[in-house]
């Protein structure tokens, strides 16, 4: 996707190289931002924020530590979380009750959801749950890292993730009851 030569040229502030890198990575970065920030009006700002950090941090990229894609993914998630953290109420605790039936079928059903349906599910999810769910499950951040990033305790992160999964279990079925229960 992105060659080392291109990265080196970007470090040297070559405008053409920066453009090439942006065009190569922008769709991927945008996909990540879209998951974190449902409001389209904020996405442009988040995109600029993410790329400004990517360009500024290119010197620190170590090819031996992982793929470039994963590296920019972490930077993007990091920037999104930083932008969101002031607006998230991490003490939010919704009343959720789940039935054993739904719990058993949740993961099986998740596999059947399309990308659009998953994105719709994430949009509806409370902001705090979503951010921590994405950071933990999709970006593989540890609770300690999440805690440092969002200035919360690892235990809060853990409990928010637990609640997020519970929320998914509860809210996943209304989208397609017919698939699971037929004519229920």
């Amino acid at each position: 996707m992105v060659s080392l030569a291109l990265i080196n040229r970007c470090i040297a502030r070559d405008k053409l190289a920066q453009r090439q890198l942006y065009e190569a990575c922008a769709p991927y970065v945008y996909t990540i931002i879209k998951n974190y920030i449902p409001d389209e009006s904020y996405r442009k700002d988040a995109m600029q924020e993410a790329f400004s950090h990517i360009f500024a941090s290119l010197e620190n990229y170590d090819i031996n530590k992982g793929q470039f894609k994963n590296w920019i993914s972490r930077i993007t998630a990091n920037r999104c979380a930083t932008l969101l953290k002031r607006t998230i109420n991490f003490n939010l605790r919704l009343e959720e009750t789940i039935t054993p039936d739904t719990a058993e079928n949740t993961f099986a059903y998740l596999d059947q959801l399309s990308k659009v349906e998953i994105e719709q599910l994430l949009v509806n999810m409370p902001k705090g749950y979503r951010t921590i769910f994405l950071l933990s499950v999709i970006e593989d951040y540890s609770h300690k890292e999440i805690g440092e990033l969002l200035t919360i305790t690892p235990e809060t992160s853990r409990s928010q993730l637990f609640r997020a999964i519970k929320w998914i279990k509860k809210n996943i079925f209304p989208h397609s009851k017919a698939i699971i229960y037929g004519t229920l």
């Binding site: 920066q18 453009r19 942006y22 065009e23 922008a26 769709p27 991927y28 945008y30 996909t31 879209k34 998951n35 389209e40 442009k44 700002d45 995109m47 600029q48 924020e49 790329f51 400004s52 950090h53 360009f55 500024a56 941090s57 010197e59 620190n60 009750t97 039935t99 949740t106 993961f107 998740l110 596999d111 959801l113 399309s114 990308k115 998953i118 994105e119 994430l122 994405l134 933990s136 499950v137 999709i138 540890s142 609770h143 300690k144 305790t153 690892p154 235990e155 809060t156 853990r158 409990s159 637990f162 609640r163």
Partner: protein, 522 residues
Amino acid sequence: MEPFDHLKGKLREESPLPEGFGWDDMQKGIFEKMAQTPIPINKPKRFRSWKLIFFLLGMGVTLGLVTLFQIGANQQEVLSNPSKKEVVSIPSPSSLDKITTEQASNRTIENSTEQAVQISVTSLNKVIKANIEDKESIGGNASFIITKKDLLNTKNLSANIQAGLANLNPTKTIIENTPRIDKLQGSEKTPENQEESTLKQTIKTPIKKHIISPTIKEMEQLNSVAPPTAFNNTLSPLKAVINSISTEKEKIIWALTALEKKPFKLLNYLRLSAIKPLPLSQPLAVEKNAQSARFSMALGAGVNYWTPNWENTIISQERAKYEKAFLGNTYAVQLGYQLKPNWAISTGLMWSKNYSKFDYNQVETQQRTKEAALVEIQVNSFTGDSTKIYGDKIINVEQTRRVVHYNSFQKWAIPLTVKYSLRNRKMEYAFGLGTMLTLSTHTSGKTVNPEIIDYNATSPIYKSSFAIGAMGSFDLNYHFSKKYYIGAQLAIVKDLTNWSQTNETVLKPTLFHGQIMIGRKF
């Protein structure tokens, strides 16, 4: 998370860029933000310097204390510990004569060595027995051997010696016997009034510096600085006795025998008390026995128990409700160093595993839909026919959830205590106070936070760094031989560091250790 792998794949599928997100539209904003963005530098992993400083400081203090006490103990040993009277120096014939008569000293210098004879007063009989077996001389390189037989035959010494010994009571009888002593001695007289007063002063002299082995040269210096006065006059009866003994061997035998007799004991004490401390040319040899063994090492095994002491937060209360301490096991290697007869420091290494029982029990009510349930029976009152109506019915279901799990906390610890011990024959009681440096290496289990969560090495909720605690201990040891002992130890440790990673849950437990130990002294 395995169940979400599919989700992860789908969310990573790239979406096309919407309008307005092209490079031309974005570059201005990106470069503006870049100008405001400080260039992040890959910081090297934060070096926990305070931990190293703390460790080095601890090591330094420990080494310093050990060195300090070692030096102190050596000095104490050299300058004679009043409680260590078992090894004192008896003057060689030469030094004895120096105090008594010039003539005697001139004679005995030829046969004596510069090294003073050392003998244990309290274990005199043992020394004599040893001499019988070993046939060794006790007068340095003197040319005669004293055996038990010789000592038993002291009754056969001349009647003058016996009479002289019988009359050697410096507090009462010297003045009375003065005429007879004068007769024996000739020229020397003891001033009557001066005798008692000087003696009293001498008794008041602080008891110090028992273990002194002055060389002949040093004794001469001592005599030149402090010439014999009335004190030497108190010894005047000895002159007669010593002069009446013909051989050197008999003199030594007489001295050993006389030491056991009451008046001479007092004289010997006075003489030693009156001598100023002198620098020793070489340290005295201390009998190596179990009493002088300074190092000890013990191995122990036992059980432990802990009280979590959850502090008053909501999550802590929840945890305290469901999590109870349980018996664990402890193994330890303990190293001790005796600083003084009653004081010792102790350190070592302890491995312990603490357990707690997590017993979660909660009843939840859930609503479930029951299909095709009998919801109504309609009865026709005229015909008596009944009609059953089936349908879906929402029913409340009570569900009890119980989770039982044994949580474990594995710890390595370095105790450092100062102990005060009391010895009663073979039993030893020791009370210790100090600190315990604990390193938590592995914790795993389940707890509430506020829902049930798992914790382990990969997702810990407790610290794995060093923690410090205050420690108190009580040891009860039985010394079944000079070197070996068995004992029991009870220790209480109050952790001063929070085990939890966050301040939401503060856990500073109190730990109790009970161990059976077997040890050896070196």
